[in-house]
Symmetry: C2
Subunit: 301 residues, 2 copies
């Protein structure tokens, strides 16, 4: 079966919400992505952790079948992020970021991984995303995520790497920021004109919108009675999205892209129901498929 | 063809938005509703205006084929509402309300209208909604809209009239307020338990959700590059929704309810593109059907 390579952060998060908090819980884009994508296809992880990283957290990924042959362990502390959410639960306010061993890390793709057909370049300096992509042999589908910081500070490199990937995954606010417009449809056209075949705009509790040159697909979020912790929702979405595409062997059939958005949506819904990767980690494929069916019922005419 | 009766306000609105303003423009729930519903079926209007009401505004409704046999003209001023929106454009802040002749008006359904099969009771004191409904012979589908004021001040009457209608149309915040919960699904179950077969929860630029005992349907708003004036979006939505149901002769087929939500969504999209009823007034059925198709393409999997 097609393998998925993820390159990105593993972290310890300190998360504050108005009703509860957690300290030192497993986080990072690659963790969330892997826990979701591994429900669909074998996942290979390239990342770095410090000597404080707990064996139990390694075990959580390994138990999900994630191939950790690309996980470096270095002297120093793991990436640590501290953030807080207000009642709107829409955007995290970062209280502190300590990059630790992630700070000067340059991903090295193990030779056993360079043939991976599906690649997710999680949020990191786009210069590093480019250097990572160049190590791959001939991936079938490459997706990338980014954040507002790189739009501000590394715009040229970001545009360069966007031109080389198939799927760009980005928040609504970031899409607007990147294109300097409030008009999302304009921003989508501009981003697609850069080169990617697919743009996924994440809209938090308002769902996600898929843009291709052929048209758009608008999906709501999976309705939950309660969101506990939005951390990792976007990366978990990416895990379900790329995972489903890998399971399909690609997205030549346009319907598979729309279904992939729904799978991403469903995976994200599990993620935000609990702190850390506990929600998506507790979900199995049957649970995902049941929510997929419920979500599909909710939107079909 | 089945006739639609609307009972509600005609008003002059003074509207402020961050980028433009209009004074003394045609507004009121019955105006917005009629301009939309008349695209689907003959509309009969029951309302009241003052002697300041302009012939040109009467003509706009008549030109749309609206039967004004139930429009009273009284000495005094027409209902006047002044409201302002901030950049979020989500909720109007009312600056001033002058009920004028609408204040002590009690709708009297003309005998020629009492056989109307489809009825929309626009937002007004629920005691009056009840008294109006009792004048109808045997309507096939009755829908009602309400607002937060009546939830606070006339709750018992509101619950009583809700039990007697088929469709309740309400804002998301009002649904939560009515049921004293943040959990929309819980609120929906409670409202449906009161008696109506259908609940439509309007969610502004996030779309609308349909609830029935059989399940839910989640529709996004029609994506617009720019919203000019959200006034009347809910009533225009109701016009498209009830209009389509009247055109279908009812909603025995559950698919017709979902399609009705999309028609309501499309009509609302025209309404908010311009001030007053100018947007929905400029739309014809072909324009509505074209947007319906585009919206359907946007959500089908």
């Amino acid at each position: 079966m097609s393998s998925i390579l993820v390159v990105g952060s593993l972290a310890y998060d300190d998360v504050r919400t108005p009703v509860a908090s957690r300290d030192g819980v497993l986080g990072g884009a690659a963790s969330y992505f892997s826990m979701a994508a591994s429900l669909y296809a074998p996942v290979r992880l390239v990342g770095v952790v410090g000597d404080d990283f707990k064996d139990g957290d390694i075990a959580r990924l390994r138990d999900r079948g994630v191939d950790l042959g690309g996980l470096e362990r270095r002297q120093g502390t793991s990436f640590r992020w501290k953030g807080t959410y207000d009642f709107a639960l829409d955007t995290a306010e970062t209280i502190n970021t300590d990059l630790g061993v992630f700070g000067d890390w340059r991903p090295k793709i193990p030779s056993a991984f360079v043939d991976s057909e599906f690649v997710f370049l999680a949020n990191i300096d786009p210069v590093i995303q480019l250097a990572t992509l160049e190590q791959m042999r001939r991936p079938k589908v490459v997706a990338l995520d980014t954040m507002n910081y790189w739009i501000d500070h590394s715009r040229d490199a970001l545009l360069e790497v966007m031109a080389k990937v198939d799927v760009v995954s980005i928040n609504e606010g970031e899409a607007r920021q990147l294109c300097n417009t409030f008009k999302l449809a304009h921003a989508a056209r501009e981003i697609l004109a850069l080169g990617p075949r697919v743009l996924v705009v994440k809209r938090g509790e308002n769902g996600a919108t898929l843009f291709t040159k052929e048209g758009a697909f608008w999906a709501p979020a999976y309705p939950l009675d309660e969101t506990v912790d939005p951390t990792g929702a976007g990366d978990t979405f990416a895990g379900g999205f790329v995972g489903y595409i890998a399971e399909c062997g690609g997205f030549e059939d346009p319907v598979s892209l729309r279904r992939a958005v729904l799978h991403g949506t469903v995976c994200a819904s599990f993620a935000v129901e609990r702190f850390s990767v506990d929600g998506i980690g507790a979900a199995d494929r049957a649970a995902v498929d049941a929510r997929y069916k419920a979500l599909h019922d909710l939107i079909r005419v």
